[in-house]
């Protein structure tokens, strides 16, 4: 109903954008605007003809572009994989882009400490043994101040003083206890990492490292895409992929439908460490159950009958540590899990169990006429660059083989 005004301008802008973007990618420079008035018409015609040619070329080229979708529930690691692909196969992050993440990282720090402090207060009121969640008196003042900062629209730059205060509060026993119960609050996974590196993050001329950027947490909204070629820019015959990253929360999923056509492969990210956590957008629903239902829904889409599915069982590093403390049975889907041993063997056993569950789900949800579509499971830790590179190479191989099979050459 706001549509009228936005619609017109939106559509005009959109068509103008696509035309001009093609011109850009082809020509690489933008024609100067300061043209003498008399030559304007002739120039414009030439430009228009050039754009038409480019569009025709692009349309032909587009048929060789493979569309990849990164799907998954919220906070499953899609955007991290996206960033990794950018790092690996595109130009990577230059200093300007790294600097642009400073505010994001600082925001993460403020938000994390606010969540922990507010969580401690809440647990102190509701839980039975509330005394261990009561923050010490000296730190209470700091806590209140940081909580107030965290509710502001604009966060201040993270100075050494504030960082010191945050560190003090982080070390408080009550906050550590709250962090141990972090699964019932919405504590981001990067909390520990950022809290431990606070001194570095609060430097005056702080430039985030690649690792910091990968840990930074931002909910994606809308759709983001990149185009890349895994072999490198020089070889023309390499596959060209266009990768789409989306938001995972429930309201973002209604936008997914616009991307479902002509997809070569769906990379479905499932964070296996989230079996004891609740959704950001619905704290009554378990994240693993949501992932299960979402995966089921994606598999049943009619558009994906011929699409390859790559399931990334993500956040293995957190899973490793968690599975030894929190049994898998807390999640309803895994309630028939029997712990076998402890230590390293336990982790492997648990992982195999989860993998089998996903395989079962896949075969349950796949119609008999879709059985020949590719389905592969990969164990990933999106933060680990080497692992992602290796995994992606395997994905690329699989897709290339599939492509050849479909073209009848294999």
């Amino acid at each position: 109903m706001f549509a009228e005004l936005t619609r017109e301008t939106g559509q005009n802008t959109y068509s103008m954008i696509s035309m001009l973007s093609l011109a850009f990618e082809g020509m690489g420079s933008f024609c100067s605007r300061q043209k003498p008035y008399s030559e304007a018409d002739a120039e414009e015609n030439e430009q228009a003809a050039e754009i038409e040619r480019r569009i025709a070329q692009e349309t032909k080229a587009e048929q060789h572009i493979h569309k990849l979708l990164l799907l998954g529930a919220g906070e499953s690691g899609k955007s991290t994989i996206f960033k990794q692909i950018k790092l690996l196969f595109q130009t990577g992050f230059d200093e300007a882009e790294l600097r642009s993440y400073t505010s994001v990282i600082h925001a993460n720090v403020y938000q994390t400490i606010k969540i922990l402090y507010d969580g401690a207060k809440e647990l102190g009121q509701n839980e039975s043994d509330s005394s261990k969640y009561v923050v010490s008196i000296e730190n209470k003042e700091i806590g209140e101040k940081l909580s107030a900062i965290g509710s502001r629209l604009d966060y201040p730059y993270l100075t050494k003083d504030i960082a010191h205060e945050i560190k003090t509060l982080w070390k408080d026993a009550a906050i550590q206890e709250t962090y141990a119960r972090g699964n019932i609050l919405q504590v981001p996974d990067c909390a520990q990492y950022f809290m431990e590196n606070l001194e570095r993050l609060s430097e005056a001329d702080y430039v985030p490292t690649k690792e910091d950027v990968l840990y930074a947490r931002v909910r994606t909204t809308g759709v983001v895409e990149i185009q890349f070629s895994p072999v490198g820019e020089s070889r023309k015959s390499g596959e060209v992929y266009r990768l789409y990253d989306v938001g995972g929360q429930r309201n973002e999923r209604r936008k997914w439908i616009h991307l479902f056509e002509g997809v070569t492969a769906v990379i479905f990210c499932a964070a296996i460490s989230e079996y004891d956590q609740m959704l950001f957008e619905d704290e009554t629903k378990n994240r693993m159950m949501e992932t299960k239902e979402l995966f089921d829904w994606v598999l049943k889409q009619a558009c994906f009958e011929k699409t390859s599915f790559m399931l990334f069982l993500n956040k293995f590093d957190i899973f490793e540590k968690k599975v030894q403390k929190v049994p898998l049975n807390v999640c309803e889907w895994f309630k028939d899990y029997q712990p076998k041993a402890s230590g390293k063997h336990e982790v492997e056993h648990a992982y195999e169990f989860v993998k089998k569950k996903f395989e079962e789900l896949y075969f349950q949800s796949t119609k008999p006429d879709c059985v020949d579509r590719v389905f592969k499971i990969y164990r990933t830790t999106a933060l680990d660059q080497k692992l992602v590179k290796k995994t992606f190479k395997l994905v690329d191989e699989t897709l290339r083989r599939r492509n050849l099979i479909e073209a009848g050459l294999l």
């Binding site: 959109y14 629209l153 909204t221 309201n251 439908i257």
Partner: protein, 470 residues
């Protein structure tokens, strides 16, 4: 005269039957008309089923009246003239349409809809909370006494051989009619001091007046028909009046509710006039929806924080276009609507409530068409609020959306074509620098799909035309 009064077949009777036939025909035409003319009127499935129930109820009423009261002349009383059979023959709605031959279901439905609407208005505007019960559930609850009465009468079968109710049953029947009207009057009284903007009060009054007149006529004709069974011309005239009134009322009730489907009368939104594009315009908030070209040449300082930047209309429009093009527009639209809400003064709670309710239905409710990306707590806070006109109702949600826009969309915006266009149209001072490097944004040619979802077109189809199961 004497003969036709008892056995039926008077001229007036045939005229009455003709009128009732005409009214039934018009009823059906009216029902089918919207579906023929418009491609697909936006009727929810529950609203559609109500409409169908009302059509069947009306047909049942008219036919049972014609058959049971002796309008047509038959040589002997046909078996299928029995009042009970006519009622029982409608399979799906047996209990609902059972024998209460002279109690129109349409009347009950319409009254209940109006009562539900009044109740919801009371809840929203007087108590300033979102209604706790879904309208459809409430409708069923209010309709239950009506259905209960019909079932009770069916069980006890107090009708004599001419399908006339014994006098002692007349009073409870009249009482139930009167009770419903009294309930409607009561709830309407509770909201009479609110200055509604979309004629809701007028609708309620209209409902009360029409139903009171109807019931008055009905009772009058009914009593005449029942009480003076022996005075023949009274019989004829009252029979005629009864059927004609029934036909006319059935048509009036139906057209009052079918021009906007029954359930829509319960929701506030449907009252938006078509010449208004946004709720803000409909409520008369100054400066909404207009792209004001300010005279100042001085451009916007692009280093301000985002919430200040978004106050500038041209920047907001440009940013909104960018967000719409990459399917993230709901954040900016939400911000704009809350901004408009902020323009309504605090001492005008009615308009604030309209706007707040509009925002909640479009952006906050789970499954809303432009649902925004906020946390569970923030959403529950808004939906469970005790004061819809509170100035800080959406503060947390706006905070979260600002963070989302700042950290996510804004960076991509600086390197987008929308920003380039904005810079061209709004030349700034030569010494102010650009916020970010000139580089191709990853969101550029975002989604190669045929329609922008913020154009509210069909969302649940694969662009290839095959329907995806959602």
């Amino acid at each position: 005269m004497a003969v036709c009064a008892l056995t039926g077949g008077c001229v007036t009777d045939y005229i009455a039957v003709a009128i009732s036939g005409l009214s039934l025909f018009l009823l059906l035409a009216r029902a089918v008309f919207p579906f023929l003319v418009q491609k697909a009127p936006s009727t929810k499935a529950s609203g559609l089923s109500l409409v169908i129930i009302q059509i069947i109820g009306s047909i049942n009423l008219i036919l049972s009246l014609v058959m049971s009261v002796n309008f047509l002349k038959w040589n002997q009383r046909q078996p299928w003239q029995s009042c009970y059979i006519w009622a029982g023959s409608y399979l799906a709605y047996l209990v609902l349409l059972s024998v209460w031959a002279e109690g129109p279901l349409g009347f009950g439905l319409l009254m209940s809809c109006r009562i539900v609407q009044a109740f919801q208005l009371y809840h929203v505007f007087v108590k300033r909370r979102l209604p706790p019960v879904k309208p459809f559930v409430l409708l069923i609850l209010i309709l239950l006494p009506w259905i209960g009465g019909a079932a009770f009468i069916h069980i006890n079968k107090p009708l004599n051989h001419q399908c006339h109710m014994r006098t002692q049953w007349v009073i409870p029947v009249v009482c139930i009619h009167a009770f419903y009207i009294a309930a409607l009057i009561g709830v309407t009284r509770a909201v009479r001091h609110i200055e509604f903007r979309f004629h809701e009060f007028k609708d309620l009054l209209q409902g009360i007046i029409v139903s009171s007149i109807a019931v008055g006529f009905w009772i009058g004709a009914y009593i005449l028909n029942e009480v003076h069974e022996d005075i023949l011309w009274v019989q004829v005239v009252s029979r005629f009046l009864l059927l004609v009134t029934a036909s006319v009322l059935v048509l009036v009730f139906f057209s009052m509710s079918v021009s906007q489907p029954l359930l829509s009368q319960i929701s506030l939104r449907k009252r938006e006039s078509t010449e208004f594009v946004t709720m803000g315009q409909a409520l008369g908030i100054p400066g909404c929806g207009l792209l004001v070209q300010t005279a100042s040449v001085a451009g916007v300082d692009l280093h301000q924080p985002l919430d200040k930047l978004l106050q500038d209309k041209r920047f907001r429009q440009s940013f909104m276009d960018f967000a719409d093009s990459c399917l993230a527009g709901e954040s900016v639209h939400f911000f704009e609507e809350v901004h408009e809400l902020g323009k309504i003064p605090l001492d005008d709670p009615v308009r604030r409530i309209y706007m707040a309710r509009h925002i909640i239905e479009n952006y906050i409710v789970t499954g809303a068409e432009m649902e925004i990306n906020i946390s569970h707590r923030t959403r529950q806070e808004i939906l469970g609020t005790l004061d819809l006109a509170h100035p800080d109702l959406f503060n947390h949600a706006v905070n979260e959306m600002m963070q989302l826009m700042k950290m996510n969309l804004l960076k991509d915006y600086w390197s987008s074509m929308n920003f380039v266009k904005f810079k061209e149209e709004n030349p700034r001072q030569p010494d102010s620098s650009e916020p970010a490097g000139w580089d191709l944004s990853p969101r550029l040619s975002c989604v190669r799909c045929t329609d922008n979802p913020f154009n509210h077109e069909q969302l649940h189809k694969c662009p290839s035309g095959r329907k995806c199961d959602v």
